[in-house]
Symmetry: C2
Subunit: 307 residues, 2 copies
């Protein structure tokens, strides 16, 4: 799947991924109202409004971006109906040819990680059949439990040709609280990065590994170090735009081949219609605003990463 | 909710929690067959079989144990139907008076942690209504992202009087890979423990905090240190039984008041019918076997912790 992702990135000349993180406040009023009218003030109404919102955005961007990254928390907050919308969104995006990165940040002891891996990127055996549940192409995972929380995901990646992005240095302000603490003179994120580089060797695609990393755009000097530590891992870079990362900050995340990183923007694209710059689109033009913002992001990154 | 948990532990003289981690292989053959016959080889069949299995166990143990801990990975592997069973299990356990600890190990950047918190222990606003989704009493969370991944959970705990168990030292064999690494001469798990102790002060119940910790039974010498570092935090102790922890190992996890820890057993109880010691119950007696194993665990722990 890493080969497919790289192929799409190259074809579209866009190392970008759109975060489908539909916070309730992002959903345009007319979609909220329509769903509330049909389903009342229920979780089903929220799930329906989010689905309609997502569908509009996906239709508007699927020919210009290679991938989407639904943040499962935004669906899980609406319980089972919300997760139905997550499933529907994953299915729809795949139908439209998008690579789907499930931002699930799961991890647990071995047997539970194996269950998460089966449900998100693998299959479960029921009777004589192997069934796929959520079926994302990539997922994000948390390294705190060490290799036995990660290996079950890697095993499924090998079998199913799916991929992972392991949290190394996250984009949030307090990520340094533990991740930056020094161990034998080296910050924890570097130690985790070294492990990711080792794990990455277990499942190589044509030029990059199925095992990638998450490194926030908000810490470019750390990105530069981590780029070198994990040369064969794709880096998923959150934090561009709304969280403060700029296109210039992104340069160190890329390798000399112009590859190696994919930059996420969530609210900067899906809620672009709320920004003054895209105000002319209005609520009803939220999807067109998202398309315009995605094109602008593509150009912004291209201008810094170069040809 | 920590007050309710302690009250139930004291009344039942049982500082134990039963892990509802229904791996497919644990589900007795007759329940699998019945569900497959009704729903075919589908995720719905798996979800139905797991639900029937859980219901039997919950009915058999609800008067002798204070709490259950459903491991969401085991439900999530079956996709949306599996999560419907998770919801149904949470609801049923609460109906039966059990305290429900959702073993979800979530964490993310602030806005996403807030969404997880809303969905699992809080409420979401839809139109004019505040709606509860999964509605567990406690959940487990992962500390890798630092305080801004944790604070949204704490905020909801304060508002809703719910609780957390934060991963400090996990029970799995490779937990030391990062957690044991020394920072300024102290292992990472101690540093995390010190943070938990600070966070715990933000929301105190009568005698213990709403903010607890997870420390595996498989590392008793670390448990002893962490007990002292986090005097007001309840410790959720996985790893007893199947993972190798014994009752003697549990002593250091308790405070002198006889409180401060709750010990989990999953397969040792819910799959007891597969052990030679409980073989006489057979497949059809799996629930009675679970009850017998829970009573035996209670006595085992009592014999070491004392009165």
């Amino acid at each position: 799947m890493i080969n497919v992702l790289i192929d799409r990135i190259q074809k579209l000349e866009a190392p970008i991924v759109v975060g489908l993180d539909p916070m309730w406040d992002f959903v345009p009023g007319f979609l909220q109202e329509r769903a509330l009218k049909e389903y009342g003030e229920t979780l089903e109404a929220a799930a329906e409004a989010v689905w309609q919102y997502n569908k509009g955005i996906v239709d508007a961007i699927c020919d210009i971006v290679p991938a989407v990254k639904p943040q499962i928390a935004m669906y899980e907050q609406f319980g089972v109906p919300g997760l139905q919308t997550f499933q529907r969104t994953v299915d729809y995006c795949k139908e439209k040819g998008l690579v789907v990165i499930g931002d699930v940040k799961r991890s647990d002891i071995g047997s539970s990680s194996a269950a998460y891996a089966a449900g998100h990127i693998g299959t479960v055996q029921v009777g004589g059949k192997k069934l796929s549940a959520f079926g994302e192409d990539f997922i994000t995972v948390n390294p705190y439990l060490g290799i036995d929380g990660i290996q079950p995901f890697i095993d499924v990646c090998k079998e199913e040709k799916k991929g992972l992005f392991i949290l190394v240095k996250t984009s949030n302000p307090s990520s340094g609280e533990f991740q930056d603490r020094k161990i034998d003179g080296k910050p924890l994120y570097e130690l985790v990065g070294e492990h990711v580089a080792e794990w990455a060797k277990q499942c190589m695609g044509d030029s990059y590994s199925y095992v990638g990393a998450v490194v926030g755009a908000t810490y470019p000097e750390m990105g530069e170090v981590l780029r070198k530590i994990m040369p064969k891992s794709y880096i998923l870079v959150p934090g561009y735009g709304a969280q403060g990362g700029t296109a210039k900050d992104l340069v160190p995340y890329f390798n000399e081949d112009g590859l190696g990183a994919i930059v996420n923007s969530s609210r900067g694209i899906i809620a672009a219609y709320k920004q003054p710059a895209y105000g002319k689109y209005g609520d009803s033009g939220y999807a067109e605003a998202a398309r315009a913002a995605a094109l602008a992001m593509k150009e912004d990154i291209k201008s810094c990463i170069g040809e």
